[in-house]
Symmetry: C2
Subunit: 547 residues, 2 copies
């Protein structure tokens, strides 16, 4: 890791000047777009979904809308299209999103890379020519790279590539855009002092989720087909769900974080993992294959030494539905989505059972997590914000100022880790006990990815539906199911909230507020069953009548 | 874990009374031996190796001496011998060792178990009828079990089985004896306030190593053919080497520690792993298969989800010899052993190269380890000793009072973990770089398991040859090579020590002191290459003309 700042920021002494520099850098990237974007209305529409039709050429729309990732890779490999043409189309579509999801548009670098790939005698790599979007704090391949990780004090700080991005690059992808994350990179929304708020491409009043919300906002309108997020509490899965795309949080230590910029480097109580966010289910597995093709465990020996080993579903599947987590009742569209999927799985011949979360005390995981996230009481994070002179935003305050967060002594830390491990063992035990008379245990759990569809801004204060699986280190995949519908998803009148959190969530719902917003679900597998989760996801989608 | 004390110790208020109770409990177990052991001289000989011939029956000697583990298992399975007869023979042989290696002789329990196994209509399990010895602090299958982990304050404290022992038990073994470990379980010798000093079966003036020194002292005279040790800095490998048996420290998280009693439960900076110690090479792999047969990762989800997957050596092997670690020069017999093995490997057609440890700064691992072992500055350990009123023994002082040991803040801990991970990545990089023109990287490193053969008491103050691989989490196997020989292993006169530690080690050697003591070597593989290490060990032994 490089610890120098670029010379031009070193004389910027005030917070505002540094922020202005970061935004100017972003704007300079966007200004490179050629031909210029014409036809964006001065008064931005509530939804960005109509913009591509108004601004892009028919050919650009064809390139960005009519191919799956697999199909696009095929025509790139067969050289039915140039990498440059594809790259330019995605650069232009990314730039017009108007959701404030971009930190760096890599116009020149991407086109240079595309030309270079086009000049190769033979296409090379399993991602040949595919534009890939990336979360800003991970860093980026190349010289002269700066990475701020949403901290004003790190604006203009050099920080280059990481092991994962090097692997993807070796497989022939084109990095072309870097995307926003929230302050602290610990919110399920995306707002930072540096770049402001990232909004939902379907509805500016709502959040695309977070912390990989720049990715979701971008991919949600096909400004990218495949992006890289990171997840320590839901940061891939929540935003993927909110925009109705696919996302995957693998088990820790399948994908390396080596070289990524983050706070509290060296903390190992709870860790983040990168993972894919994409418009296509098959691209989840493609990403995992590409990430592991270079045998990264030989470079980052903390990784699990295991190639990607596709799983085949042979026996009848046993699917557990977790209707709620015992803490907060999901909004009606989520429950309806679970019903629809459960029914389809039944019809397809799967065994469908209930997952009894109530007896498994999901509250425990949140009590442990809040302390394990901040073993120093949040001091490093707060100090860095203070150093940069930046305001601590509401959702940062929320997560940092949980009642039990404090600087732990080492024995206090051990005690938490011990309780974490005990809880993990209890949950594993519960899973073992799902073996029925036929001796078959539950293959996966289907559950909400959040209490509801995309939230109104600054309201994402319940992480349980995703963070629980981080505490357990279980892999989880997100898949789109339906959309919020006024007729089908009325308020559950007469519902009596079970606790304060449940009341907060219950009162947030109204069908009007969320109308037409995507509704997704989550497939959870046991720790290390990454390949199985993706294989079963495919079976579930087949049951839903998808390909 | 059960936290109650047995009623009879609760009124024992003084340190001395508690220690007397623990010793009386041990003695009561030994007193059960039937028929009594006759013929042990009042004045114990310097070596215990002659005792079995003087005390045991011809049949007992046959049973305990003439079979490998595999052969014994075969005749047990074929019921050419009863489990009870085998168990009685090993109980009697264990009891006569006179090396002070036993904490509990499980006479009644073992014979009951043996009879039970004999009464089964069919032999069951891959360890059917095999007596297995175990390290005291791990706990033990059964009710009424107490486990003190060498702390006087824990004398009489209930602590039952663990996941590993349950797995071995399910495979049909007989637990019959529990063995000593040192105070703090953090010494490379074996001396505790409770049981005193465990001595080497070949020479009472020397140490059988530690911390699994009860096991090595016992197995070293075939009072057990297979035992379970634990290793966080060399505690399986050092004692195995000192008595000339086989030992294996797998990569962390292959074998569970769930249920074991230890200090600082929940600490995850550097962890201990159980592993086998045995008279036979093949029993190392057998143990691993038996330990993983129950799919323990379904119960302890922190484990690597990976069955034992035997490795086959197909290509020419590339063996690196690490002649020294860049800190301390090994004693002449160790160097001679490496020369003999290197030569045999060459003759067998392997490629043999040097491992350049000097450029890899092995000192770094010790600097990190000392702090990572005691992130609380050793407070918990010292407090527990104080609570029990026990003296802090010299080698406990040595390891706890390294200059840099202190209570770390969380950011200080992260910094150490980060540096640990960087060092691991550097080492992996160096290993990657061993790829020569033929693209073949080093398969294993052969290196000393210690600076020398078994040490005189209270002198084991250099851990580097084993602890280095704990820091890296590389698997390591110990195999016997030769014995110290006055003629072949003279003092290297004129040697100029390179530093203070090197001088200490150099001055410890004289051929007379160590004469006829076993000399073993260590085979090290990359992290997670457990199966490969054992497969290559076999090839090395074939090269040495063994089976």
């Amino acid at each position: 890791m490089q610890d120098q700042y670029v010379p031009e920021v070193t004389h910027l002494k005030t917070h505002d000047k540094r922020v202005a520099w970061a935004r100017a850098q972003r704007d300079a990237g966007l200004a490179k777009v050629d031909p210029k974007l014409q036809g964006i209305p001065d008064q931005l529409p509530q939804s960005s979904l109509g913009l591509p039709g108004a601004v892009l050429t028919a050919r650009e729309i064809e390139i960005t809308e009519s191919y799956s990732v697999t199909e696009l890779l095929r025509i790139l490999k067969d050289r039915e299209i140039t990498v440059e043409e594809v790259t330019r189309a995605f650069l232009r579509r990314a730039a017009l999103a108007q959701t404030n999801c971009i930190t760096h548009l890599l116009w020149d670098q991407a086109i240079t890379r595309a030309k270079n790939l086009d000049s190769l005698p033979e296409p090379k790599g399993m991602l040949f020519g595919l534009p890939i979007s990336t979360k800003e704090h991970h860093g980026m391949v190349g010289d002269e790279v700066v990475t701020n990780a949403s901290l004003t004090t790190w604006i203009g700080k050099r920080h280059g590539s990481n092991l994962l991005y090097d692997s993807l690059y070796d497989q022939g992808c084109v990095f072309y855009v870097r995307t926003t994350q929230p302050q602290n990179i610990m919110q399920l929304e995306t707002v930072s002092v540096i770049y402001g708020r990232t909004v939902h491409p379907y509805n500016r009043e709502l959040s695309p989720g977070g912390s990989s919300g720049g990715e979701s906002a971008l991919i949600g309108m096909r400004g990218s087909l495949l992006g890289v997020g990171g997840d320590i509490g839901g940061s891939i899965r929540c935003p993927a769900a909110h925009v109705g795309i696919y996302g995957f949080k693998p088990t820790l230590k399948r994908i390396s974080v080596l070289g990524s910029r983050s706070l509290m480097a060296g903390k190992e109580t709870i860790m983040s993992t990168p993972g894919p966010m994409t418009v296509d289910r098959d691209a989840l597995e493609l990403f995992m294959k590409a990430a592991l093709a270079s045998e990264p465990w030989l470079t980052d020996p903390s990784l699990t030494f295991k190639p990607w080993s596709p799983y085949k579903c042979i026996q009848q599947l046993k699917i557990a539905i977790m209707w709620w987590d015992g803490v907060v009742t999901p909004h009606p569209p989520i429950t309806r989505a679970m019903k629809e999927v459960a029914e389809a799985c039944c019809k397809a011949g799967m065994e469908v059972v209930d997952w009894d979360a109530e007896s498994l005390h999901h509250q425990t995981s949140w009590e442990l997590l809040t302390q394990l996230y901040w073993p120093d009481g949040g001091e490093e994070a707060l100090d860095l914000m203070k150093k940069g002179g930046e305001e601590v935003l509401p959702l940062s305050k929320f997560i940092l100022q949980q009642a039990n967060v404090k600087h732990l002594t080492q024995p206090e830390l051990w005690d938490l880790c011990r309780r974490r491990d005990e809880y993990r063992a209890e949950y594993a035990h519960a899973w073992n006990n799902t073996k029925g008379e036929n001796g078959k245990e539950v293959d996966v759990i289907i559950c909400p990815p959040s209490f509801g569809a995309a939230s109104p801004h600054d309201q994402s204060r319940y992480w349980g539906y995703t963070s629980h699986w981080n505490l357990l280190d279980y892999p989880g995949a997100i898949f789109p199911v339906t959309k919020v519908c006024r007729e089908k998803d009325p308020i559950q009148t007469g519902y009596i909230p079970k606790n304060e959190e449940d009341r907060f969530i219950y009162e947030m719902y109204s069908p009007e507020r969320y109308e037409d917003m995507p509704v997704a679900l989550q497939v959870i597998g046991r720790r290390s069953y990454d390949e199985k989760v993706l294989a079963v996801l495919k079976e579930i989608e087949l049951a839903l009548g998808r390909e």
